[in-house]
Amino acid sequence: MRRDRVTFAMMIGLPIVQLLLFGFAINNDPRNLPTLVENADNGPLSRSILASMESSGYFDFQGFVDGQAAGDSALRTGDANFVIVIPRNFERDVLRGNQPSILVSADASDPSALSGAVGALDGIIDAAIRDYRRGPMLALTGDPSKFSVIVHRQYNPEGKTATNIVPGLLAVILSMTMVMITAVAIVKETERGTMEMLIATPVRPMEVMLGKILPYVLVGYVQTFVFIIAATLLFDVPFDGSRKAFIIGVNLFIIVNLALGFLISTAARNQMQAMQLSFFTILPSILLSGFMFPFAGMPGWAQTLGQIVPATHFIRIVRAVMLKGAETRDVAQSYGALVILLIVISLIAAKRYRQTLD
């Protein structure tokens, strides 16, 4: 046991990691959700409402936007979870009893992330009004609650869980199989001694590697294809965005996973270890990627950790493309993150691979 450090790490390390993750990182009632404001009124009432929203802790105001297009784009790229629109002459209309409404556009592609904040909205607004009436305007007002708040759940108006979970599942399916299959396949080659034979042939080491990895790209395509069919036909998940954006994302993610599998194969001494190490990488792909639990709900350190998990970026891409109708440019940031991860993983893997040859 002392000499089989991987098993040891699995038994001691994994429970600790699980404890820390479940205990600290996972939060089903996330606060500090990034929020943008489009305030066309800017009177004391609207400011009072916004201030009370911010002090509730659910909303983290990132700034102001102009016009609907900017707000929609922020929601689509995931820069903001909420866009709050306060119409022109809001305060005047309230005083006149015209019943204006505040529009809260929410990114409901992850419904559980929003439920806390949305549920708290009524209370927040009541509190704002109470503050407002205590002020010098008290005498002037009739009944200031004569306005409504409309919550517009975008991308998943019915709040269906499947709509949120299914696109993320593609990331989990791909990371599970791609990482594990490549790692095991390569380690098997070393374990059986056939790698030695391959190296003794004039084939270059990198050619051996590519030959081992490329077939699994095809496997990844087949999985993606089956997934798309199941998602759209079985689970009614929409596919609103550009196919090109999706295809680029899938390819990048498959390659990143294969590189990761390759990296694991250079560290594992036998197939059993390769399996265990692959499992290590899959756990954060499920817990820290925003697949099961809202990414925004995690504390800063967990979010940072989540950033180095490829699945995090891929889940963003898939959700943005399938649910939010994103185009290539909307997910460019996630592409960039995947490319960086790919480069880093490949460099380490290639370096280690060269050492194992010696």
Binding site: T194, L198, A200, T201, P202
Partner: protein
């Protein structure tokens, strides 16, 4: 002067703190069978790998088939057949698929024909669809040799090729090796077995990374300067103890029904053997020292480099 196929000098390889191969020189002429002998972990495999360019040496260098072993490993690999210690073919491919796969890796021309010919040479043509993993040890070894030969290499590196193979199969294997050598293929073979070492033209004895001796196999014992008496008697155990009790620098080994007592100090050896044999009523005769005595002698004298001192 024969053409030299392998010519390397000063090869040294370290893994961490351990010097696995220490300042190794080698020269092998074309068509020779060159044997590497040595205990387990003495660096035989590593040396073979360096010579065919699979590993890079930390220092030293040379040529193999006229190519630089450090820089031109790809050219070397094309002309070398390397049979690994462990069976290294795909167990879940058939015999034919294995041969075909290796042939493709080496870009063998007329592949189909070549594979078919290899199958017929092996006598496996009618079993070509059997999985390689199902073969018995002897057949696996023959298949491995056949795959090594599929691209007609000029140099064959055999790393303990006959480990775990029955004596008959071993004999056939060596017949094949000698036939290849006669055709001009140079063969480098590592082994533990003395009866195989005798089959080699030249031998290098390696222990703990150092080459202790090399030369034609029939002259090694002479080079060591060892003399051996075979002592036979009724009570071998008592004889053995008697020799040990003398406290002299003797090498005593039991061979069948006799004791082989050897030493490089011929005077002392003769005297001691005579005394003890007369004392115990045993017979003794002088006989040429064999390879085995020579190697046991070398082994005892060599220092273990894995022991830190």
């Amino acid at each position: 002067m024969n053409e030299i196929v392998i010519d390397a000098k000063g090869i040294t390889k370290k893994f961490g703190d351990f010097t696995v191969v220490d300042d190794f020189d080698i020269q092998v002429p074309k068509g020779a069978i060159y044997g590497f002998l040595g205990p387990n972990g003495s660096g035989k495999t590593t040396t073979i790998r360096i010579l065919c360019g699979l590993l890079t040496a930390d220092s030293g260098g040379g040529t193999c088939l006229g190519h630089d072993i450090a820089k031109e490993s790809e050219l070397i690999k094309r002309e070398v057949g390397y049979m690994t210690q462990k069976f290294s073919l795909y167990q879940d491919l058939t015999i034919r698929e294995n041969l075909d796969f290796v042939a493709r890796m080496f870009r063998v021309k007329n592949r189909r024909k070549r594979v078919q010919a290899a199958l017929e040479d092996l006598g496996l043509a009618d079993r070509s669809h059997q999985l390689a993993g199902e073969l018995s040890g002897g057949w696996k070894q023959r298949l491995a040799l056949a795959t090594c030969l599929i691209h007609d290499p000029k140099l064959l590196l055999l790393d303990e090729p006959t480990a775990g193979v029955d004596p008959k199969a071993r004999r056939e294997f060596w017949d094949e090796i000698r036939r290849l050598a006669a055709e001009g293929v140079t063969i480098l073979v590592s082994t533990h077995y003395m009866d195989e070492a005798v089959q080699c033209d030249s031998i290098a004895y390696i222990a703990y990374g150092k080459k202790l001796i090399d030369g034609p196999s029939n002259r090694i014992a002479q080079q060591v300067g060892l003399k051996t008496y075979r002592v036979t008697g009724a009570n071998l155990r008592a004889l053995e103890l008697a020799f040990k009790d003398t406290g002299e620098d003797l090498q005593i080994a039991r061979f069948g029904t006799g004791l082989h007592v050897s030493s490089t100090d011929h005077q002392m050896l003769k005297q001691t053997v005579k005394d003890i044999a007369t004392d115990q009523g045993a017979k003794f005769e002088l006989q040429p020292a064999g390879l085995e005595e020579a190697f046991i002698y070398l082994m005892t004298g060599s220092k273990d480099n894995f022991r830190k001192d």
